[in-house]
Symmetry: C2
Subunit: 293 residues, 2 copies
């Protein structure tokens, strides 16, 4: 593994996810907190206008604006398209990286705890994830790369990943999640420092992770209007097994809809506010245990 | 007390408060649920465009658009100003009521449980509140009338009140709060029916309620930027006593700020997402017990 020279911490990629945005504000005021002897750490407020407005985005989702071809497309000119290109200028991309690690801070209304969202099976990321989940049982690890390349900000860097925390409402700064995320960031930076010193912290040689396999939308009527809600027995049960026949939705008129899959899955992002407009009531994952790397 | 002839249930006055908006959708589909033998119940989706957009409002807060003089002011022409005038045409006002009771459904990111927000000490409202809190211990009662008249939708009717439920994130339909709110509405309607029948349900002759006395903003710097968050010991502690010297905020750099008031107060709307832009970190109330009416 080559030396880590530069780490970027991004917050506020979604303007109403305050945990990350205010951590960036803190690190801007107290930059020594994130410096380590062997590498430089820089901060970036992802979407300043959306943060100022307290909205997820101004024109479109910034964290879906990083397809390579879109970054090269000069006809795309919404606020977020322009912002994505500016971030690309700062951070480079996989082929021409200005940074070695990107940590992109997000929050969710789902009960995701402290989740690491990985976009690749890079051995270094897997070792880091294994270490973090071994020192903090609240840490969960997901692999959510789409097949056709990624439009996520984290994809600008081979060692890019997301820290996703919750449940926390949009537009709210919650001290508990602020502190837990801050502590996790320091653990990551300390880990990277030790790697640079040649003493990679020991961790289990296994990793439990959750592999994205698809999404489920809310039941809707012919006009696209939602006709059922997440079943109360499933709400806040992210990362727990969902077995065929288990309650999944409750219709407005009180009927239970059961999960009709053929095997046990592990839903995540259950009832994430920002995914209603994407037609996603939850994401489904498969639990993978004892993956050796 | 004169007979109740018509009740209006309003939901989605704020478009991203889904509990009320989806209850209106349910009652539109199943109107018999809210009809009672002696009166008519009508429903109203407060802010359809904001609900469709998943936002609190389009141009301005609809639930601050009901000052009498604003309703008469033809120069006010934002979407919500026009919508407020349309609602006023439907419901009338205190002097010319088309309805006898307004129930306006809201949700909050604060831990408000099932709160009744009253704008007057009308004996009928106090008796109703006393009854509801006696049959359901989760019900809390607040008196939040501003001194200079009200710009709330509920103020269009002498017997108007708000049901405020939470904690629930903006833009999320949560089944538990949906069901609790629905049940409370039926309890209200059944109570009104019994009043019309001349058999007012018995309840304690006392009422515990929380009287609004003011607001506290987040600590901010010279640019208006928030420099501290709700202290983790205060988060979700709505309706609990806050005594001088108790932790109230935690600065971004980790310092505790204590409450400097001179007497014990009971904060509500602690960390309500929609109040950041209003400069409100929480509202303070005084607890009043054994109020006899």
């Amino acid at each position: 593994m080559h030396k880590i020279n530069r780490v970027t911490i991004v917050g506020g990629t979604h303007g109403n996810e305050f945990t990350g945005a205010f951590l960036i504000k803190k690190f801007e005021q107290l930059p020594d907190l994130i410096q380590r002897p062997s590498f430089e750490t820089i901060t970036l407020l992802g979407n300043p206008q959306a943060f100022a407005a307290g909205k997820r985005y101004i024109d479109k989702d910034l964290n879906r604006a990083f397809f390579s071809e879109d970054l090269q497309n000069s006809t795309l000119s919404s606020y977020e398209d322009i912002r994505a290109k500016a971030i690309y200028q700062i951070l480079g991309d996989k082929n021409q990286s200005q940074v070695d690690v990107i940590i992109d801070l997000h929050s969710t209304t789902a009960n995701m705890g402290l989740s690491l969202m990985l976009g690749s099976y890079h051995p270094f990321l897997l070792q880091l994830a294994s270490y973090l989940s071994s020192v903090n049982p609240e840490v969960k690890v997901c692999y959510t790369q789409a097949e056709k390349g990624s439009n996520f900000l984290r994809s600008l860097c081979e060692l890019g990943f997301v820290i996703e925390v919750g449940p926390v409402a949009q537009g709210v700064l919650n001290a508990e999640w602020f502190q837990k995320t801050e502590k996790l960031i320091y653990t990551v930076l300390d880990y990277l420092e030790r790697c640079n010193q040649g003493s990679i912290p020991e961790s289990e040689n296994t990793l439990t992770f959750y592999q994205f396999i698809g999404t489920i939308d809310f039941p809707r009527n012919e006009y696209g209007e939602i006709q059922a809600m997440i079943h109360p027995q499933l709400q806040f049960r992210d990362y727990e097994p969902l077995t065929p026949g288990d309650p999944i939705f409750l219709t407005l008129d009180g009927k239970t809809i059961s999960y009709e899959g053929t095997s046990t899955v592990y839903p995540i992002f259950i009832n994430e506010a920002a995914y209603y407009e994407k037609g996603i009531a939850m994401c489904l994952t498969e639990k993978q245990i004892d993956f050796r790397f």
